[in-house]
Point group: C2
Chain length 363, copies 2
């Protein structure tokens, strides 16, 4: 494995869309006791359902800590590859490499990771194990890696159409806890040179109370070039309404890198999902403070789905809109089977199915 | 990866000879402070020379603990693949899988490992990290694994010619610390069913003071079918003389699985190599006792070489026989280049080049 210090775009590499064909998917076996209630047993079960579903149509590589390897091997089918790797938590989207391709080989970008805000508003400390994973994953895959550890970025904060367009949120990428010394223009330039994109569409915000500083992957996602889904509520009293409406206005007034208008498909949100007292009591404290408090609103959204070669894995919350979300996505992804997965036990950790996955493009 | 409970021979698998073509080689980055003097820095250097030489003609996969990954990546070239894996020590020969082939695919045998004797005369406690490596290495390689953790065996205690013959030592395989409830015949039967061999040649002993209970790989090795090298001294006052002579007598009166007589090529031993006071002072204690004592004789032998696709990696000790050993091996391996590697810093840990390597057959 070579550690490269050039820019992917200069080398002819770009980030393909998630709906392009995959070699596989990286995930992490959950373990963190202040993220996953009651020792992570319920989370493990939900993760395993995601892993097994993805593994039906692409290779899944699961990173398990030394202490978790045996349990992971016991729970997972022999289709799944498990590798030993330490981690601070289990968000593969944000700590695994972002892969770029030149149409032939792939390479992995190793961004800096600081737990979504470092010492400003990061969610845990330390985060060194997470930050070291991307390079090691490239080593496992025998692919070269770009060293961009000086630039803080999480995979969940970007989506591309594979044809030159990237969507992201200002709330996240311009946050004080990431790259405070870079201007918006400098960040744009960095995204273009690393991900091989030509145009960046900046939404202002993401999902209400999303502790990642409002990652794009919880509010809006490409379903095909020039088509996106947007998390939506009709309830004007919900603080989410203004946030989603602002995204809608920007998207409807944007064109993509190829000059096409963006078509926005509204994906209804579930009713607000609150964490219960019992769930909170199953979480370790964080430095002597409660990690979550009862009735805290969780950032539930159907947009946080994963696109595998064969399926769309869509979070379900036991809400009346569960079925509707599946139907909308099924119409938008006619060649894939949409599978709803009950994901409250992933949501409690602070993200959802997309956040715990990272696709590896075909190579 | 499937975990199999059948017997390899019943499935049509057998252990190929080390001189057959390899896919690659597994090694472990050294770290243990009661094995490797002065924080393992000298050992790292020697290991890296072995790794880089092997990597010239086959893939080398190096297991590094979480704490060592960065150092290993810094020291090793980009030809080498490094994977995170916990270990108790660094003897890949004894803790990595023994690979078997059916001529098409390979599988890995996961033997039980108990640090060369468990609670009877094992060399450290605990040994659980080592014991868990073989299965995880099969997972990394995407090959199925045979679960034989109930049977204690180290890769260094067996050599095969790939044509049905296995050599081993009674001192090791019949030791009280391994499989004390099995008779010699039951152990023979196990070796035949797991390694696909038809005939086992039992030598009595190995190298004097070899703390593995005298592994075969330090005293005798196949160089081609029906040809072996045997560690030899002409000094009849050396306790090694009787041990080597006994091996010679057995080998010269044996035929292999195909009925051929064995030709023995004597490989001279270096003069006795003793550990110095300064070296001992660089080793951590073991449970409050000195791990080694000054002037303790180390089990130095040129037989502990590794056969890569392109090279023979032969230990060197700064002895007058260094050159002779290289010459003898060069005659026996005309298609490979013999490279001498100064290996005192590996020897201090208790083994040598063969002990720190485990070949993966071509597949």
């Amino acid at each position: 494995m070579k550690i490269l210090k050039t820019y992917p775009a200069d080398d002819g590499f770009y980030m393909p869309a998630e709906f392009s064909e995959h070699y596989g998917c990286i995930m992490i076996f959950p373990h963190r006791r202040d993220s996953w209630q009651y020792g992570a047993y319920a989370a493990r079960k939900a993760f395993c359902e995601v892993i097994e579903t993805i593994s039906l149509s692409e290779k899944v590589i699961v990173c398990a800590r030394y202490d978790d390897y045996d349990s992971a091997r016991f729970m997972l089918s022999d289709r799944v590859k498990i590798i030993e790797m330490e981690s601070d938590d289990s968000w593969a989207r944000d700590v695994a490499p972002t892969f770029v391709t030149n149409g032939n080989t792939i390479r992995g970008i190793d961004w800096g990771f600081n737990a979504w805000g470092g010492l400003v508003d990061g969610l845990y400390f330390p985060w060194d194990k997470d930050n070291k994973m991307a390079r090691k994953l490239c080593d496992v895959l025998d692919v070269d890696t770009y060293n961009f550890r000086d630039f803080i970025l999480e995979g969940g904060s970007i989506h591309t159409d594979g044809e030159g367009t990237l969507i992201t949120t200002e709330a996240c990428l311009l946050s004080k806890g990431r790259n405070p010394d870079m201007s918006k223009e400098e960040i744009e330039d960095m995204l273009k040179r690393t991900l091989g994109v030509k145009k960046i569409i900046w939404l202002k915000s993401g999902i209400y109370n999303d502790e990642t500083n409002e990652h794009i992957d919880n509010i809006c996602a490409f379903t095909s070039p020039s088509n996106v889904v947007l998390a939506w509520t009709e309830d004007q009293n919900d603080p989410q309404y203004k946030m989603s409406k602002s995204c809608l206005d920007i998207l409807e007034n944007s064109t993509d890198a190829k000059g096409r208008k963006i078509t926005v498909h509204k994906l209804p949100l579930p009713k607000p999902v609150m964490i219960t007292k019992e769930e909170c009591e199953g979480l370790d404290d964080m430095n002597g403070e409660p990690t979550r408090t009862p009735n805290e609103r969780l950032a539930a959204s159907y947009v946080n789905f994963y696109i595998s070669n064969g399926h769309i894995l869509c979070p379900q919350f036991g809400d009346e809109n569960d079925k509707k979300a599946v139907e909308i996505l099924q119409n938008l992804f006619p060649t894939r089977k949409v599978k709803g997965i009950y994901a409250r036990d992933i949501l409690i950790g602070g993200g959802n199915i997309h956040c715990i996955t990272q696709q590896i493009p075909k190579f």
